[in-house]
């Protein structure tokens, strides 16, 4: 059964500053179906963060609506998890890895918390790191912990804000494949924001291309690369090369809102 997990309709947000108002996003409309992995790619500074913050209820958008499985978002939704780019600042250094993963599970019993965190850590290949502290791990491992924390929460929607932008290329490939495997195993719905064109095509079932600020959806491309992907053959396949060229072209000619009007 396909149902809509996330419904973003005519979303707009204007920041009020001393030197006038600034439209970060405007008229954004798209949906994410249950079980889908959608990548949002856009030029830097186009308002991607504002979009994620509106969806996660951290800010109240000035226009439009966001609905999560049919419920309008008003405040932070209970079944949504976020993985930020800056893992070193998003993990809590005073807590062990295990405790970090257990952090959002406060409503569960102690035994359940331990079990869930253990499962999530195993899913990201860190079953033996629970007693360590985040700062004793490498950057890639820290981001795995952040992913495990989000997974342990069993969110209806997993939001990822440039999750692999701060790790080296090798680690980035590993983490991308980890994400693909985990979301297949756990049937997680993911909305991932990135500025990396290749990454958006490699990971996504669909790629949403945004315009320059204020961001609008310029194109929504279906990615027909199938479920099984790997870093070498997929990235050299004709379909991949063609799609990345298309996204790149769209980004380069991405109109500003003024030319659209």
């Amino acid at each position: 059964m396909v149902r809509t997990m996330l419904d973003v309709a005519d979303l707009g947000h204007t920041y009020q500053a001393k030197d006038g108002a600034h439209d970060a996003i405007d008229g954004l409309t798209f949906t994410v179906e249950a079980g889908e992995l959608v990548c949002v790619v856009g030029p830097s500074g186009c308002g991607k963060s504002t979009l994620l913050r509106s969806i996660s209820g951290l800010i109240r958008p000035t226009r439009g609506t966001v609905s999560l499985h049919g419920t309008p978002v008003d405040g932070v939704p209970a079944d949504l998890a976020v993985v930020f780019q800056d893992y070193s600042r998003s993990l809590f250094p005073w807590l062990t890895v295990q405790r970090n993963v257990e952090f959002p599970l406060r409503e569960l019993s102690k035994a359940e918390r331990t079990a869930r965190a253990g499962e999530a850590l195993a899913a990201v290949g860190l079953e033996n790191a629970g007693r360590k502290y985040p700062w004793q791990l490498s950057g890639g491992m820290q981001q795995r912990v952040a992913i495990a924390r989000a997974l342990a929460y069993r969110p209806a929607l997993l939001l990822m804000d440039e999750p692999f932008a701060s790790v080296d290329a090798q680690t980035r490939f590993e983490l991308e494949d980890l994400l693909l495997r985990v979301r297949r195993e756990q049937d997680t719905t993911v909305l991932l924001v990135t500025h990396d064109i290749d990454e958006s095509v490699y990971l996504g079932d669909r790629v949403l291309v945004l315009s320059k600020s204020p961001a609008r959806v310029v194109a929504a491309l279906d990615v027909g690369l199938g479920e099984k992907r790997d870093q070498i053959t997929t990235r050299s396949s004709d379909e991949f090369v063609e799609l990345r060229a298309k996204v790149a072209g769209l980004l380069q000619s991405a109109p500003t809102a003024e030319t659209v009007h």
Binding site: L58, V82, F84, F92, L95, F103, Q136, Y153, L159
Partner: protein, 268 residues
């Protein structure tokens, strides 16, 4: 992983301990020479060769030990009360800008008043019981804890807060689960500074007030008539040692509890 925690302490540990002992021995040597050669009146500044045995004698003297215990107890109680007031106070002042703006003028007015200057007034109002010295010590010890807690909240990482909020953590829970643990190392530093202040205020009050039992009163009595200068000095040195031990203990506690806050390079 283990060496990350162990390395800094072993390096400083092996180097610092002998160096500090040499410094201490040097101080005693200068003191001894100054006293023996009559550079300072020997009658008042007894040499360490007399003071140290007097110290050992005091540590076996029940009257002295009771006085010492009274002083340490008063200091610890004052410190605990100061923590109970200043930590929640600092959390509120640090997280609610309106309250902070409203309170800061009062705080900045009260803070510079030295608690020692309040001793005569406090003695008149509350008498010479232990509550007087505790109250004064609380007053003196409040400020470092309050300010450290408050400023620690200014340093709070917004991404920590945002992460917690995105996982559905409410405002109050953010304060207790994020702000408080982030601020804890700074709070402990405040407590360390405050211990010294509390001890000084307690001993000073005891010096002033004849009836208040404690180290200060013991020193004052030994001082009267100038007959027991070795005991006066021994008492003073022990007061110093109490302060030193508390400081070292709290520093250790800090290293143990807040290893996560220690400066470090990139983890490998």
């Amino acid at each position: 992983m283990g060496f990350l925690l162990g390395k800094p302490s072993t390096v400083s540990g092996t180097r610092r301990v002998p160096a500090s002992l040499v410094g201490l021995a040097g101080l005693f040597l200068i003191w001894e020479v100054a006293s023996q050669t009559g550079l300072v009146p020997e009658l008042y500044l007894r040499p360490p060769s007399e003071v140290l045995p007097a110290m050992v004698g005091l540590l076996g003297d029940e009257k002295f030990l009771r006085a010492l215990l009274a002083t340490v107890l008063a200091t610890v109680i004052a410190l605990l009360i100061a923590i109970l007031i200043a930590v929640p106070g600092g959390l509120v002042l640090g997280s609610i800008p309106l309250v902070r703006r409203a309170c800061m003028t009062v705080v900045e007015f009260l803070r510079p008043i030295p608690s020692v200057a309040l001793i005569p007034l406090a003695l008149l109002i509350t008498g010479t019981g232990p509550d007087t010295k505790i109250a004064l010590a609380v007053y003196g010890a409040l400020w470092p804890i309050l300010f450290n807690t408050m400023y620690a909240l200014d340093e709070l990482d917004p991404l920590h807060v945002e992460t917690a909020r995105a996982f559905g953590t409410g405002r109050v829970a953010v304060l207790t689960r994020i702000a408080l643990p982030s601020a804890a190392p700074f709070v402990l530093t405040g407590v360390r500074l405050s211990f010294t202040i509390a001890l000084a205020v307690v001993v000073s009050t005891e010096l002033f007030a004849g009836g208040t039992k404690g180290l200060g009163q013991f020193i004052m009595e030994a001082n009267s008539g100038g007959a027991h200068m070795d005991q006066v000095l021994a008492g003073t040195v022990i007061a110093g040692l109490v302060g030193y031990a508390a400081n070292a203990g709290l520093e250790r506690l800090n290293a143990k509890l807040f290893a996560w806050n220690a400066p470090r390079g990139e983890a490998s």
